[in-house]
């Protein structure tokens, strides 16, 4: 057996020809009384600097679990990662010891969460929660951390940052709270930012502002952004590429304009068709039939087959591989050609 040396932390800056972040054949299971729940089954995706990857899928599709595995914030046990790699500039994070991992967490790969009210600690001021990043990771004095917190609140455009830095999370509106989460996440200029449904809990107008802010921060700093969402409408303007997840697998990988023009997987097509459109006002909204799969008892073959309008006999017996259908595109459907043609027509 080959001797394995401890991998070293990659330096900041350009990283050769490795992608910034690469998830490779990742598997995550949760031990439960009923047996192992396979939440993530061989997910792969890659992210380059300055790029926005949208990970799309319904609840239970494994999109958040994958993100938490990247962050290293899964509770293990009950979670377990039996296979796969998560390479950050070529270094497999899963093989790093915990102390090296904690050098990356929050500082170089940061994350923001869905509900900013419950994700912020209610008993500390927002200024101290933002400033904490500098105090803990940079050894900054309390006073300087306070100044940095005000600067960051300015940067995410919270009005009156200087007056509001000593307020508590419950004193802010939902949109402002999400801005505080973002300020905290970008405090130490991370190279990767993972946003887990950052706008789901917000009003539509505020959603647009937050997405705009994220897109702007990404442009300014050249960081890679992973945007996890179940809302296709959010994705179109900001994402470069999309990974659609279903039942713990990626079912379609594509550039954003390709998938909007013509999806190559029935599930992706279903998602697109279920966006309400102004020109179809008055008609019944499209919905994908059936229920998301039970992770304890996955359907045989293709896990989407019980809900799929393109289903043939082979779909029940044989799980489709992730077919390469273009230079930047994959689909896990035996009948991707038909889906693609159907989409055009």
């Amino acid at each position: 057996m080959k001797k394995t040396s401890t991998p070293v932390l990659p330096a900041r800056g350009v990283a050769g020809n490795e992608p910034l972040l690469a998830v490779d054949n990742l598997h995550v299971e949760f031990a439960t009384r009923q047996g192992a729940v396979k939440a993530v089954n061989g997910v792969s995706y890659a992210l380059n600097p300055g790029e926005t990857l949208a990970v799309l899928g319904e609840s239970g599709s494994g999109k958040s679990v994958t993100a938490q595995a990247i962050m290293g914030i899964l509770d293990m046990p009950p979670a377990r990662i039996p296979r796969g790699e998560i390479r950050f500039k070529g270094t497999d994070l899963l093989r790093l010891p915990e102390d090296a991992r904690s050098q990356i967490r929050g500082q170089r790969i940061a994350m923001i969460f869905q509900d900013a009210l419950s994700a912020l600690n209610p008993v500390f001021t927002v200024g101290s929660q933002i400033g904490e990043m500098f105090q803990v990771h940079r050894g900054t004095s309390r006073r300087d951390a306070h100044k940095k917190a005000i600067e960051l609140m300015d940067r995410v455009r919270i009005p009156g940052a200087r007056q509001r830095v000593n307020d508590y999370p419950h004193q802010f509106s939902g949109g402002m709270r999400q801005r505080i989460m973002i300020a905290m996440a970008i405090a130490l200029d991370p190279e990767v930012l993972i946003a887990d449904e950052p706008t789901t809990a917000l009003d539509v107008t505020v959603q647009a502002q937050i997405m705009e802010l994220l897109a702007e921060l990404r442009r300014e700093s050249d960081m890679g952004l992973i945007l996890i969402t179940h809302d296709l409408g959010v994705v179109a303007d900001v994402a470069d590429k999309i990974a659609v997840m279903y039942g713990g697998r990626i079912v379609e990988n594509a550039l954003v304009h390709d998938i909007y023009r013509a999806p190559a997987h029935p599930y992706a097509k279903g998602l697109l068709d279920s966006i309400p459109r102004v020109d179809q006002k008055g008609q019944e909204l499209y919905a994908i039939k059936g229920m998301p799969p039970n992770l304890l008892d996955m359907p045989s073959g293709c896990s989407f087959h019980p809900r799929c309008p393109y289903r043939q006999d082979i779909c029940v017996t044989e799980a489709p591989p992730l077919y390469e259908i273009g230079p930047t595109r994959n689909s896990a459907c035996h009948y991707w050609r038909e889906v693609l043609d159907g989409s055009h027509g």
């Binding site: 904690s102 994350m111 969460f113 600690n121 008993v123």
Partner: protein, 312 residues
């Protein structure tokens, strides 16, 4: 905040009046004659009895008696016993003992209970956790009467016979040391409850979204637990400790008896027996006051610990 405190104090007045009236009525309704009880087996000269009854307003109707007592109370006069000793004199010494005992118990409860609970929460599901849970169950199930005599025998008597004089067997002659053993016995069940409460509260807090955020910020575990979780987990403990202070002060009759501590528990027992209305009502009034103040301090501490709570 100042207005809030004043309002709370004003609200305390009817509570205090109600409590004194109730206790006064209960002692009044007890069968037997206090003057006769004073004399014990002997028969008193009817003339002396008349003088005493007149002096203590015992011939007046109930409400008049209560009125006499109440007006005295507002002048800071808790009245005299039938033996002619001011009630305040009796209470002062007894309360000192009980306060020492309750304070010792409360500190032990807070330190041991919160400490064990914290440890159990961080080790939950492991052997140490199960052991602590088992120990608390024993502590809750065994009555004070048993733990009291057992610890007195083991740590007071046997240990001394073995040459280690650490805990006095009884009495209050040795300062703080005298209170260690009775303090622990009194706090026993409360320690167990607080351990369980701390464990549950901390485990629940550790599942909160903001703890996940703190972990995702790359903070060291001791900061996640010690700062982000602990501050939130403390809030329910404060309620329990505050409410328990009243129980510890008023409910020490058995502990005081086992360890022969001259506190208000023993005094209350004797005074009820002798129908000494002024003493009984005086002690209870002070206890009610302690209870009200403790609850107020708890509510104020809430606002300190949780900025979402504001009093106007």
């Amino acid at each position: 905040m100042g207005r809030y405190i004043i309002r709370r104090l004003v609200q305390a007045i009817p509570v205090l009046l109600g409590a004194t009236l109730l206790i006064y009525a209960i002692v009044f309704a007890l069968p037997g004659d206090p003057v006769a009880a004073l004399a014990g087996e002997k028969r008193l000269d009817p003339h002396i009895v008349d003088v005493l009854r007149e002096q203590y307003h015992l011939n007046d109707p109930f409400l008049v008696q209560y009125w006499h007592y109440l007006t005295g109370l507002f002048r800071g006069d808790f009245g005299d016993t039938f033996a002619g000793v001011p009630v305040t004199d009796i209470m002062a010494g007894k309360f000192q003992v009980t306060i020492n005992l309750a304070a010792t118990a409360l500190v032990m409860e807070a330190v041991i209970g919160a400490g064990l609970g914290l440890y159990a929460a961080l080790r939950h599901g492991k052997a140490q956790d199960s052991m602590i849970l088992g120990a608390t169950l024993v502590l809750i199930s065994v009555p004070t009467l048993v733990t009291g005599f057992m610890l007195q025998l083991l740590l007071g008597v046997k240990l001394k016979q073995a040459g280690i004089d650490l805990f006095p067997v009884a009495g209050v002659a040795e300062g703080l040391r005298s209170y260690l053993l009775p303090g622990f016995v009194l706090a026993g069940a409360s320690i167990a409850y607080l351990t369980r409460l701390t464990r549950t509260s901390l485990m629940e807090t550790l599942r909160a979204d903001y703890i996940r955020t703190a972990v995702a910020k790359g903070l060291p575990r001791r900061r996640v637990v010690g700062r982000h979780a602990l501050r939130n987990a403390l809030i329910p403990l404060i309620t329990f400790l505050g409410a328990d202070l009243g129980t510890l002060m008023g409910g020490a009759v058995i502990t005081e008896a086992i360890f022969n501590l001259p506190g208000i528990g023993q005094q209350l027992f004797t005074s009820v027996y002798l129908r000494e209305q002024p003493v009984v009502v005086g002690i209870v009034t002070v206890l009610v006051l302690v209870y009200i103040l403790a609850n107020m301090v708890v509510d104020l501490l809430y606002a300190v610990l949780d900025p979402r709570i504001r009093y106007e």
